[in-house]
Subunit: 404 residues, 2 copies
């Protein structure tokens, strides 16, 4: 370990940075003999690459001088029209002037957080919640309060109580952050009847809602309820992404925000990266203009449904006594472990048994979550999912023998 | 103007965001009848787009599953090898483990600033200095102190004096930020003999040097002196980019940092964007692997040399009495205006005369600089540069008649 000559010079916020537990798994996951149920990688081979090549050729022959150049900080207007159309599928009426294109929705989260979070501010989040968002909030030195969440999503009663308690302690709650559809990591969807209640509670308490909806169009049976943003234009900042409905390799996401917030967001985006990649934006725009992208999303839905079915049926076969969520879309199962089994401590043994998952602790900002684990079924083949769950069952059995 | 319902909810740092003066010009610049000497756009048509298409096809046929997927937060190892090779051209010995790929060098600046700058910290910068860096420092609520800079770059004596004065006022100086080669906006290059002196002064005062060297390889006659980083591995954070030596549309830059800083930088990068675009990185890597990229940089040098010559000769013809820098590389001339002429106030009249430039005020953090303007010669044709300077001369003449 090298000595850090500059250790006394960092900003106070540099202490908020920590390696995500998911990240530590990357090295393990890349070994081909390990079945990874850990990272939430989209199944990109389902995308026809010939169509990508066509889009590229068309882009280079018509508009290479623009695609390879610097561009505006708000994002390509043509792409913003496509984004408007995509969001309309979930009931959102928007003006393209209020859409900002970002370097993945992660950067949207980072930029919005940079605008609102002072050290010590509170962010409310589902329990469990997306690890990458928790990392962003922590990096801004915000405090995360998890709100009780069940199979119908975050509980309005628990939300109201948590707000009351946190405010009584004199703290400033800036956001409620949630993934309302097919959530990462739980797979649950916020019930339609809860949406209006939650918006009303937040409005009353002047808390902005950050709606992170990157999985909404990946439903398997029924469509998700309409977006929270479709019910409230002023109180919701909506985050979307092409990473799950197209590919993550271009790093293109978007934010729909109330106009004044949008203005500041564009400035923050320009300050951070000058402009999002013109090339990435125009590639996506060209692809969407010349392909039946709705049919492509439907292909993805079929791929992920197959995998969800494989995961649930393997759970039923090898771990019938464990409680698991039954996701209606998205990438993840959330598994409740038998008493005494600690998902974080068990992980090295699972890897010895050639299966990886993400421990529940990654998804809580307060060190809890040991009794859960997340299974990502998005990338492995259905056959490998089955093998992975069988290996997981073997690992849990061995762990239980140690416990009893 | 919409009322901002959330105006009392922003973080204190949101006030540090301001629209750059360069940005306000974008709308003007895009009118075809205006000769823009304003934005520093690279001349991307000089890049053979057939070669880009070949790189894309090869990438899609061999490695599409990786290029379209999420990737690591530090950047593609193969690309980092190319970066190592590029930096070696300026005397830098590096380990690819200490290189972090960023979403343009702008995001490198933003990430490094996020690690080190607390509100109220001081950043030392050349006078004038790159507008995009000043914006990043301001967004972190840092205070910018310009150090006297002449035709040989920043002055070591002035640097020592400024440090003494600022430290006497009890302030914490975190960085010296500089663009040592063919600087934006001045076009000047830091003399070789000053480099060691400046490093020594900074080392003694525990001030990190941020070396932003995106123009170094675009020299017209003599190579720039070796990089500051080649003289000091521990005290310099080095920023580079593919935007000027290849194209900006992919948004790929890089940071070379001492190991402990690099570790934190990777975490900050992951928190902000999860990973830089795998696709952009692999496109560049594929292009560099299969093309004579040094010859391509040489083509860019020839293009920019032609334009620099056109700009200097037009200045000599139409504005012979004005002092201007004589850049040995890069994109910019820095022009000293006659007494009484205010570059910011004059801009609308210049635009009426169908020429645009950037007022000197953009490049100072303290509201000064009215007596200067920046000419970018990187993008227009040599003929248009001549036309633009002629229009500028006409505008200045009319302004002088008003003054006297």
């Amino acid at each position: 370990m090298t000595k850090d000559l500059w250790s006394d010079r960092y900003a106070s916020r540099a202490n908020g940075l920590s390696a995500s537990e998911v990240r530590a798994l990357f090295a393990v996951v890349s070994r081909p003999e390990v079945v990874s149920l850990a990272g939430g990688m989209p199944f990109v081979p389902a995308l026809p690459k010939e169509r990508m090549i066509e889009s590229f050729q068309s882009l280079m022959s018509d508009r290479s001088a623009v695609a390879l150049q610097y561009s505006g900080g708000q994002g390509d207007p043509k792409l913003r029209e496509h984004i408007q159309e995509i969001m309309a599928l979930e009931g959102i009426k928007s003006d393209i002037d209020n859409i900002v294109v970002t370097t993945g929705s992660q950067h949207g989260l980072d930029l919005v957080s940079s605008l609102f979070l002072d050290p010590g501010d509170v962010v409310l989040a589902e329990g469990p919640s997306y690890v990458g968002a928790l990392g962003v909030f922590r990096a801004r030195q915000a405090h995360i309060e998890h709100v009780y969440t069940d199979d119908n999503g975050i509980s309005p009663e628990a939300l109201a109580q948590t707000i009351k308690r946190v405010q009584a302690a004199g703290k400033n709650i800036k956001f409620l952050y949630l993934v309302p559809n097919f959530a990462n990591p739980s797979g649950v969807t916020l019930a339609a009847e809860r949406r209006a209640q939650i918006l009303e509670i937040c409005r009353r308490n002047r808390i902005l809602v950050l709606e992170d909806n990157v999985y909404g169009l990946l439903y398997f049976e029924e469509k998700a309820p309409e977006a929270l943003r479709s019910l409230d234009e002023d109180g919701v900042i909506y985050l979307g992404s092409f990473s799950k409905i197209l590919v993550p390799g271009f790093r293109v996401g978007y934010v729909l925000a109330p106009p004044s917030i949008k203005d500041k967001l564009v400035l923050a985006n320009e300050s951070a990266v000058l402009c999002p990649s013109a090339f990435s934006q125009m590639m996506i725009s060209e692809y969407l203009s010349t392909n039946d992208w709705k049919a492509q999303i439907s292909v993805f839905r079929d791929e992920y449904r197959l995998r969800r079915d494989a995961a649930l049926s393997a759970m039923n076969e090898y771990l019938p006594n464990l409680k698991t969520t039954k996701p209606g879309g998205g990438f993840y199962l959330w598994v409740d472990l038998p008493e005494g089994v600690d998902s974080k401590k068990m992980l090295p043994k699972a890897v010895e048994n050639l299966v990886a998952y993400t421990p529940g602790t990654a998804f809580y900002g307060n060190g809890t979550g040991q009794e859960f684990l997340r299974i990502s079924y998005s990338y492995p083949t259905p056959e490998n999912i089955k093998v992975g769950v069988e290996r997981l069952a073997k690992t849990i059995s061995a762990e239980l023998e140690l416990v009893t």
